[in-house]
Structure formats: structure tokens, C-alpha cells
Symmetry: C2
Subunit: 411 residues, 2 copies
Amino acid sequence: MINIAIIGGGVVGSGVFELLTTNSEIIENKSGKNIVAKWVLDIKKFDPNPYGKALTSNPEDVFGDPDVSIIVETMGGKTAAFEFTKRALSSGRHVVTSNKELVAKHGPELMKLAKANGVHYLFEASVGGGIPIIRPLNHDLAANEILSIIAILNGTTNYILSQMKASGKSFAEALREAKANGYAEADPTADIEGYDSCRKIAILSSIAFGQYVDSDDIYTEGISGVTPEDIQYAQKLNKTIKLVARSKKVSDKIFVRVSPLMIGTDNPLANVEDVFNAILLHGDAVGDTMFYGRGAGKLPTASAVVADIIDIVRHSNKFAVKDWEIPSEGNIVPIEDCEVKMFVRVMCEKLEHGGCEVVCERVEKIFGKVEYINPLWPNEIVFYTGIIKEGDFKKKITEFDLISAIRVHKK
Amino acid sequence: MINIAIIGGGVVGSGVFELLTTNSEIIENKSGKNIVAKWVLDIKKFDPNPYGKALTSNPEDVFGDPDVSIIVETMGGKTAAFEFTKRALSSGRHVVTSNKELVAKHGPELMKLAKANGVHYLFEASVGGGIPIIRPLNHDLAANEILSIIAILNGTTNYILSQMKASGKSFAEALREAKANGYAEADPTADIEGYDSCRKIAILSSIAFGQYVDSDDIYTEGISGVTPEDIQYAQKLNKTIKLVARSKKVSDKIFVRVSPLMIGTDNPLANVEDVFNAILLHGDAVGDTMFYGRGAGKLPTASAVVADIIDIVRHSNKFAVKDWEIPSEGNIVPIEDCEVKMFVRVMCEKLEHGGCEVVCERVEKIFGKVEYINPLWPNEIVFYTGIIKEGDFKKKITEFDLISAIRVHKK
């Protein structure tokens, strides 16, 4: 029998507790061991208490129990969770987590601590909820050099954009609906501003490229500026707007960014709707391969946590996964130097009394040759830029009365 | 250093040889060992010889070499490959294969033999080419009861159907084009008649449901009967026709079938085009999760083979994967008993002189309430049946002059 403790009895923790019970036979069959949640540590009061006598608010019940060999950290955040994780690893216990914030921030230190103590620190559930992605990257694609990642990593924002597209709703309306349906939190900042996606692409990039990518260094833009009109243009152009986390190796550095992106409807990511997530990887041998599923939720996330637990029970003495090297200097391409193609809408009315023709002349003077798009509304000029550096674009666009600018996916 | 031998120097074998060389550093980094292809066994003459002194036509060079601890079987077929595999396992060597025919036919025996000899028999490359699917099913989704699988498992037929849809080509024309582009073999029977998909769904079902599903027992229908007119109807109905391998648990038996299927354009499989494959699984905890990528080809398939090799090098002494129980009696639902919804086109002209109205009356008399579809061509009646048993449908449809009948996906 393997005894585990769950730290944090919230949504994911309760899913892990439930899954270990309801699928105990399947799990024993796969792991060869009966896995039991002996403790659930939480300071909250539960009424009714779903955990029975497993519930405790005293950490010493967990850390003082020599039977507990695996600790599941599902409390989130990076202060108490960090302390508990360090204590667990230092005491020779494996740790499994769904806490993307902690992994993105302190992953290298915690992985090193795990190794020093001969235990595992696993975090399949930290990216893509139930979608297998961390283990496939580490194992199934181990023969590949990973060249790029393009992914939808946040269900809340994808739901909002899907709703805006389906019904022409504004961002604010779609957000309200997402909240009403339980797909957005009361404070949705981390989702809609892209921070959640940013942490996840930091983790995926660190694995794919074998070096720590610090989420604090990643250029991140959310979806609050996307309008129904932008979405109408995308549809007219056979494209769709998604909040995309993108990263790829560029010589010895890493290009990585989270932002709204116009992608062609023939891109496999274009059809990922509602709360679903998808990660499209390009490996030098395998080519394009995509992983799709529910990126959040109680049982999908628990599915990933329990897969990690089973993996530990099977291979408790194996340490095949490499540390993430911390680079000696910045390893991320500065956003200003990134090449980009932009979809741009500018006003003509306010800027010039000579009307749109004068603005077109100015567009060409400043941006060179551009590809014009027939405007859907009067008094605006719409165009794709050529390939341009982000920094240059930012400077040049100040010359115009900008309505919106959205990056366009180029392969 | 780990020495391996490759049996079969064809497309996949050459890919494995190439990948072990080009990505040797990555592979050593992940596996902790330098992995070298010491032998390539093939009776063919190669001119030029891409394998240098590794090439041999003498099996004793391989089996007499005590340094060879892993054998890669990429020769295909189920006679010589079967003998070589048994000999390899019996001599205490791990075997990795891409040979779906052999795994589907002799998987249980070979897995048992591997276990008895303390070695692995791994076959990630046998399904979905480079797409990680066997290991995710065995490991990443280990906490789930897998409830159903719906998949596009054959690139040749998917390419043909994509071409028919894109350009209105007939099946014969699209097949010719597939051959010209190297996407269909000179004898394409195994692909177009669905046998290849059948073997692959047999393997996936055996893993998912933990019991051997014999490919010989699976109802299999190919795509040679699909017409451009059927495809036009599908488009009109917001559906697409795919060659789909489907399996699910139905009480204590397994429903499994390979056939053309009309699926809604909102189904994630609907957008899988050309030679790509995709496998959509439903697990009780994870919900829907899909794996997408190149289902065939030299380097994608080699990517999966080498992932298995790395797995063995990391975990050579672990045997976590369960055997497939051979059921004491038939475990597959007879096709006649399977419930289905059919899209049906029948002629009216030839059958009755009273014209279409008479046929409609007969349709309703025989099938009960149906859902009519406005015909695209004169002299035909088009409808969806309600849910009906395959056996009943077959009997009832004999009363009509059938143009075509295609199964419709129901959740």
C-alpha cells in the first residue's frame, strides 16, 4: 500500500481524492499498488466534510507520518506551497503538483532538491490540465529536437473568444457569461491578461529547450483589447483570433510570447473551441504533433496528478528527466527584436482632412509595401504589414490613429 | 553504450538508423547512454549501401552477437518477423517494433514471451506513426477508465477522402493521385479496404480495455464505395466523411468497427486532413483528449521507435504494462447487434412507376419515422434513419434500390 497526502483540499485536491477512490481498482491494476489518500491538509472548514478522518489542518500530521511517501500539492500559490514542497522533498518524499505558478517560478530549485533527496518532483497537471503533455515531451518525443511550440493554454480566454466569435458579443459580455458559467474566476486577471498562459509556456519551453525559461521575462499580452470588429475581420480573412502561447528556438536564444494571434482556419489550433486547450509541437523527426483536451477542471486535472503518482509508484528509483539549466545570461530574444507580421486598422477621419487617400500614402511611406484589406467600416484603413521587427512597428505605428493591431501567425 | 540491431532496412528501419545518428546527442542526453545501431539485417542489396559495415544478410551476425541487447523489428509481415521476434525475446533481448500486423495477430503471445524472459516488447510505432498514443494510453491516462476511442488511423485513405472533398475527384482518380504522390502503395488494398486501420484499432482497444481484441473479429469496411455525390451530401449536411475506427465498452463486451462515417464538422476529427491521423479518446476522468500528427513516414515512425528504445534504456528492469487477457469467449458485439444511424440514398425511378411518393410511403412503412433530406439530384430519396440495429438495416434495405448508405456518428 502507498499512502499519500494531499495538501490543499480545493477543486483539484478533491478531484484527486475522488479519483483515487472511484478508480482505485484501475489504478491498482496499473501501478501494482493500492494507493490511498491518508491525509488531506487544509485550513479551510468543510461542511459537509468530503474527506472524513483524512482531513487535518495540522501539517505535522502529514510531515510526522512516516507512512506518507508521496505528497500531492494542489494548494496553488508560491509562498506556503513553496515551503511545504521544500519540506516534503527534503524529508525524502516525492511531490506531485498542479501548481504552474510554483513550477514556473521555482522549478529548477525544486527539481534539484528532489534529485538531491532521491525523490521525484512531477508536474504533468501544471500544463494542459488532463492533456498528456509533460511526459510526452520528456519521453515520447525524446528522440526529437523540439523546434517550436504553438499552443492554446488557457480555457477561460479561449471560451471568451469562442463566444465572441459565435455570437458577436463584446469582450465584457463574454467575460460576464464565462463567469456565470463557472469558466472564469471572480478575479479573472491571471487568465485574461495571459499570465496563466505565460507560466505554462515557460514550463513547456524549459522542457523542450532544456534550459530554464523564466516566466517573468516573457512578453505577455491578454485578450481584453480584442473587439468584435477584429473578430469579424478575422472571419472575412479566413482566420480566427486565439490567445496563443508561442515559443521556438532561434539560433542560441528562445523566442517566446503570449498574445492574441490571427491564425488560418486550416491551422489545427483554429478549431479548438470553448474551454479546450491544445498544444502543437514541431519536432525535427516527428513533424507536427498536437495534443488536445480539457485544460482545466477537477477530474481532468486529477487524471494528470494521479498519472504522475502511478509513474512514481512504478519507477520510484529512476531519474531520467534532466534538470533545466539556468542560463548564465538572458536566453530570451527581446520582444523588440522579434519579427512579426501585423494586421492593422487605423482611422483616417481624425488624422487627416484629406481623407483616406492621404493616410494610405502615409502608410506606404512609413511601412513600405503593405497588403490592403477592404475595410468593413468607413473611415478606416486596414492592412497587413510585411515582416517587421516588433520594436520598429511600435515606433512606426505612433504616426497613426490606431484602432487595433493584431499579430498574424507566420509559419 | 547500448548496441542495437535493426531487422529490416526499409523505410522505417532506415529512419531509425538515420535518427540514431543525426540526433545522437539529444538521445544520449535523454537516455543517459550512447545508443548505436551495430547491425542492420536485410537480404536486399542496397546500392548505395546507407548502412556501411552494419549491413548484414546473416541473422547469426545479430543473434550471435552478445553485445546486442535491443532488436528493432521493422521488416513487417507476420511470418519471418514472428520467428525473429520470438528468437530475439527468447534470447533475452528487448524488441521494439512498428509492425502492427504482428502485434495485432500475436501480441499476447509475444508480450507473454517477453515477460517470461525479463525483457520488453514495445510497439509505440505500430499505431499512429510518430503520434504518442500507446504510452499515453498505458501511462498518462492510467488513472482513467477508457470509455471509447474514435480515430483516423490511416493516412492513405484520409488523403484520398480529403482530395475527393477538396476537388470533387472520384475515388479512382484520388487513389491514382495518392499513388503518384507516394501516399499509396502499388497494392493499396490493406489501406483502402480498412485492414490497416483494423489492426491499429485492435491494438488500441486491447490496451484501452485490457483484453485482447482480435483484428480478425472486427467488422471492417473500406472507402472504395464512397462517391463524390456522398461527399457533396455530407458537406450540405455540415458533415464530413472519414474512414473511422471506433471502439467502445458496451457492458461486458466491446463494440468495434472500421467504416466510413459521417461526422459533424464540429468534431475535432473532422478537421484532420490529408495524411494526418488523430485519435480521440474518452476517459472517465479526463473527458475527451485527442492526439494528432503524422501517422506514417520514415522519420515520424522512427521517432516513435527510438522513444521506445530510450524507454527501455531508462527502465530496462520494469514491467508495468499489463498483459492483454485473452477472453474465454467472444468479446466483440456482433456487428448485426450494433446500433447505428444511417444516411441513405435510394433510387425512386427504377423501383416504382408511381414515382418518389410511392417510395417515400414504402420508406416510412419499412423504417418508420425518418428524417428526409432534400435531394441534390432527381429521382432519389435521401434520409437519415432513426437508431436501428445493423442487422435490421441490412434486411430492410433490400426492399429498395440502394444508391448508398453511410453510417452517421452519434455520440
